[in-house]
Symmetry: C2
Subunit: 181 residues, 2 copies
Amino acid sequence: MDHNLQHSIALLARTPAALNALLRDLPDEWTLRNEGENTWSAFDVVGHLINAERTNWMPRARHVLQYGESRPFESFDREAQKRESQGKSLGQLLDEFARLRSESLDELRAMNLRQGDLDLRGRHPGLGTVTLSELLATWAAHDLNHLHQISRVMGHQYRQAVGPWSKFLGVLHCDGHSAAG
Amino acid sequence: MDHNLQHSIALLARTPAALNALLRDLPDEWTLRNEGENTWSAFDVVGHLINAERTNWMPRARHVLQYGESRPFESFDREAQKRESQGKSLGQLLDEFARLRSESLDELRAMNLRQGDLDLRGRHPGLGTVTLSELLATWAAHDLNHLHQISRVMGHQYRQAVGPWSKFLGVLHCDGHSAAG
């Protein structure tokens, strides 16, 4: 389907509650383990979503409206959560993500974007010209990307425990398909 | 990690609420669309989880305790939800899944399984000898498998809308890795 801003908002609004329902108070064996060296745990992913909320989506949307293609977006630090999540519990991160997402969507709704606005262009430091529509659709797809990742990272913890059923469980054979998880 | 029954129960108990938070009242464009012919929508997946709850997990656990390896499990019908979900809303399916899962876990807890019980063996019609531990670990991993699938199927709907960001979104390049989704 084409991008539909109301559909994106509907999904974006649900992600914090979905992650909260899945992850809060789950044993650390599910949430703190990763897939091996230089990979992320569910805890790391929630920290990444917080960082993206602070520095990526709405800041870039504002950037498009303010500068168009004349200045590229700031680069996004995909490893910032290693510093910023330190000393926090997963429950704290889930609360923080929910609060930041709610604030982001309040601001997005208040922008009252029209179809013509969605065609506005910005400049990504690596990808070149992108539209505001693509940025906002990517925000929604990025939530799904990391839900996909969390289910995979957690599934990985049971790759031995399932015995011969492994071959019926595609999630255990997924490698993420991308450096971005 | 090895299979830990309490960890499996912790995850199994959370899946209905996670799916409810993600999917309830989401626009049909997210929940009723699939990835093409002979693929499943999020709606179809919830129907499948209901069917597995009724006919797969706890029935097979009881089967192991009753028959051991002497009789194979009944085959599981992976397409039953096509009939059984007809005429139901996604909200009804989410309610039904939550109720059935709660009943399943009540029964599982009441079995009061000990470590020795988890080593009991059953016979899968296609896979041969399996243990009760593997069956119960697979139940948890199966939830993750279908959360992985739902995030992928929903992401698929925005594969064009994200424009050049597609290459950073692994979920858009996942094919499920298995006939079982």
